[in-house]
Symmetry: C2
């Protein structure tokens, strides 16, 4: 019987395994997952840590039994892949003592899907590894950290890094009454949005937590009483240090084997999620994906594409046909009480790509001006001087999260700002002004 | 000096006047408005009546002085147009005693914009006109009605008609503690959505107010103590009867003069909002507009198109260049605590248009399933068997209002359900599941 091996039991890997099973009922499907959980919503971890979600099992899309018993997928937890030999079509596996991979014997595959995700990148600072210096990337670790948080042992925390995870963690910690400071090496938070939007997010952070920008973590020292954190020339004490300074594709096994990849390690994939190695596919955060605005590969590790590319990789690896349509770089994050959303290219990204781009900003309202609860909504459109829409960003206490999808749809349609201005968008006083903020922005952009 | 006359001071008319002023600073711009207010948000009236909005002046986009003093627009309130002579390029006007039109002399125009909106259609029932039998179409009348409501004289109300205005009025009245019953001649509420979505809206109505479907108003009798309402063979007492049985284009003056129009009276317009009569334009609820899915004229009287077509008509009437891109029939309504939204064609409309249409329904969730506050969101996609998207409808306690705009954008792009399924939509647990409900619906639709 032909065998598909999937490395990684996250969203991409389990989507691949399930799609392969649907495509080829007779295929043997093995999933090797290094951790103790599979198919969980990693994006929910900050909310689990903050207490918004009580039970970590609710983060599981399906329990392991669903895969093993109902879908016939050989899901092997606590099973680490230690080597890949593409020429021999086999991998080397270190599994638990009581499992099939205890002996470390090679595992042959007919097709392989790499869905190893991304690993946290730690800042290169002196300081010991310490149980109170943590990253937020696995549910196993999060369950341990939540226990620490619930025992009330953390009074002061420092979060290093002001990206999506760093800001979500700052919110989670402050919701537990922990005095929290965020330090960020860059001069703005959220490097994935332009400065005017980042400033709104930063303002929101400072209403709830400490924030020091342009501040590097210089050292961490642990002792019996906690941590001493040296950052920006200042020494502070903390009971917890959360490192959220970004992630890198976990592709060492394949890049060492010669797979084509971007400089940062993300694997180059085709529309069918095939890598440059025979019978090896990649999906999720370890893969570079076709960016519909850039027209080339980009590495934007986010949940929706992980699920979709997993489905494509598993279908194709099992002998079926599927293609991935590409990413627009759409993302949204809740920063305390503010929604920050983006799609396409920022102005900085567009100019870095050599495009003749400008940005048009408007501050409109989330509802009719006379309707209670209307709040300012900042819309930034990034577009070519000729009118082609390249991207958009929104920030406000409501109305940003779903509106960004209209811009994503416009990017998929290769719309101009005039096309956007002509769109017939919904109006009712509780939900939007008669000229939706997106239309107001598009009209202004079209007049340039 | 050349003169532009605009008939109607609502959203379309004042947009036309302002656009004309910007286009041709030397043009004389006269606006004749039959009522006592101009440029107000008619869609806000139910919220003003319900008490959500305190001051009716907040419904005004701008006060009259803004138009008269700052924009140089000759805005004439309480001024009714009684005749139009397209051949002679003049209208007949009845204005207040102290105004320029007191003598009823003809007013010559070089260009005319008809922005008369739509008038309520009253059910053809016996019964006297009575001060407690009201429609909801003008701010002048609403101010009087609000006084009645605030004096606590209304304990029981009947709303005739379960369209947008009828359901918004039911909400407004119940918010004031008034026992309210909605009666509707059709077997469903909201004739602009298909039955599954209408049923969700009807369920929501019945949680807050009485609802009798397939029930015709048969007679109303007024006496000193209030009203006797005969409907569906049942006689009930009420202190107020709100008639919200729809509207018809207020185009009698122009159709009598020979302007091309749809059977119901809506004026046929070109992309520049010109009617078939020389130098006569139309905008807003009195005009039929190009429907991007039907590919022909349709009458869908809603606020956003009124503003946009007013702007186009005024620009072109003043000698400038502009075109209206068409409507998708996008609309959203708050039905008590439920959002109901639609765009494009319903299944019924698509089949009536001769299209080989099917509908795909999914019930997904407004947020990640594990995130608090996630509620069911019903998505219906209407599409051709071949995959072309024709329309969509959503209903849920959150997440419908703005999501429908993604479908509107897809309709403008002539997308298929496969195109929609490939869109990179935003994900974060507080705002959407990792597969947005729109994607779940599109994937299911594509598999048919």
């Amino acid at each position: 019987m032909a065998r598909l091996v999937v490395i990684g039991g996250g969203a991409a890997g389990m989507s691949a395994a399930s799609a392969a099973r649907r495509t080829a009922p007779g295929l043997e499907v093995v999933v090797c997952e290094a951790g103790g959980f599979a198919a969980y919503g990693m994006c929910g971890i900050p909310y689990y840590l903050g207490g918004v979600i009580a039970d970590p099992r609710t983060l599981l899309a399906y329990p392991p039994a669903e895969f093993r018993d109902r879908r016939g997928i050989d899901l092997r937890l606590h099973t680490r892949v230690t080597g890949i030999d593409p020429a021999a079509h086999q991998i080397r596996v270190a599994g638990p003592q009581d499992g099939p991979d205890a002996d470390g014997a090679p595992l042959r595959y007919d097709a392989l899907v790499l869905a190893t995700g991304a690993d946290p990148v730690l800042p290169p600072v002196p300081g010991p590894s310490h149980p109170r210096v943590v990253t937020v990337r696995s549910l196993d670790a999060a369950i341990g950290l939540r226990g620490v948080l619930e025992r009330g042992q953390i009074r002061r925390a420092v979060v290093v890094g002001a990206g999506y995870i760093g800001l979500e963690m700052a919110e989670a910690l402050t919701e537990r009454g922990i005095e929290t400071e965020v330090i960020e090496a860059l001069p703005t938070v959220l490097g994935t949005v332009d400065e005017p939007i980042a400033r709104l997010a930063a303002d929101e952070v400072t209403r709830h937590a400490g924030l020091r920008l342009s501040t590097r973590l210089e050292a961490v020292h642990g002792d019996d009483d906690g941590l001493t954190v040296l950052a920006g020339g200042t020494r502070t004490r903390a009971d917890l240090l959360v490192v959220a300074t970004g992630v890198a594709p976990a592709t060492g096994l394949l890049t060492a084997a010669g797979a084509d990849h971007l400089p940062g390690g993300a694997l180059i994939t085709g529309p069918d999620m095939a890598t440059s190695l025979p019978d090896v596919f990649a999906a999720g955060d370890c893969a570079a994906l076709h960016h519909i605005v850039l027209g080339g590969p980009a590495w934007v590790p986010l949940g929706p594409a992980a699920n979709k590319t997993g489905r494509v990789a598993g279908t194709v690896a099992a002998g079926g046909a599927a293609t991935f349509g590409g990413i627009a770089g759409t993302a949204v994050v809740k920063v305390f009480d503010t929604e920050v959303a983006r799609t396409g290219l920022t102005l900085a990204e567009a100019r870095a790509a050599g495009l003749d781009a400008v940005a048009t900003d408007v501050v409109s309202r989330s509802r009719a001006k006379y309707y209670p609860g209307a709040v300012p909504l900042h819309v930034r459109l990034v577009h070519e001087r000729g009118g082609r829409l390249l991207g958009g960003q929104l920030a406000g206490r409501e109305g940003a999260a779903t509106r960004v999808d209209v811009l994503a749809a416009a990017l998929h349609a290769r719309a101009t700002v005039a096309d956007l201005a002509a769109m017939d968008l919904a109006y009712a006083p509780p939900f939007a002004p008669v000229y939706d903020p997106l239309l107001t922005a598009a009209i202004k952009a079209g007049a340039r």
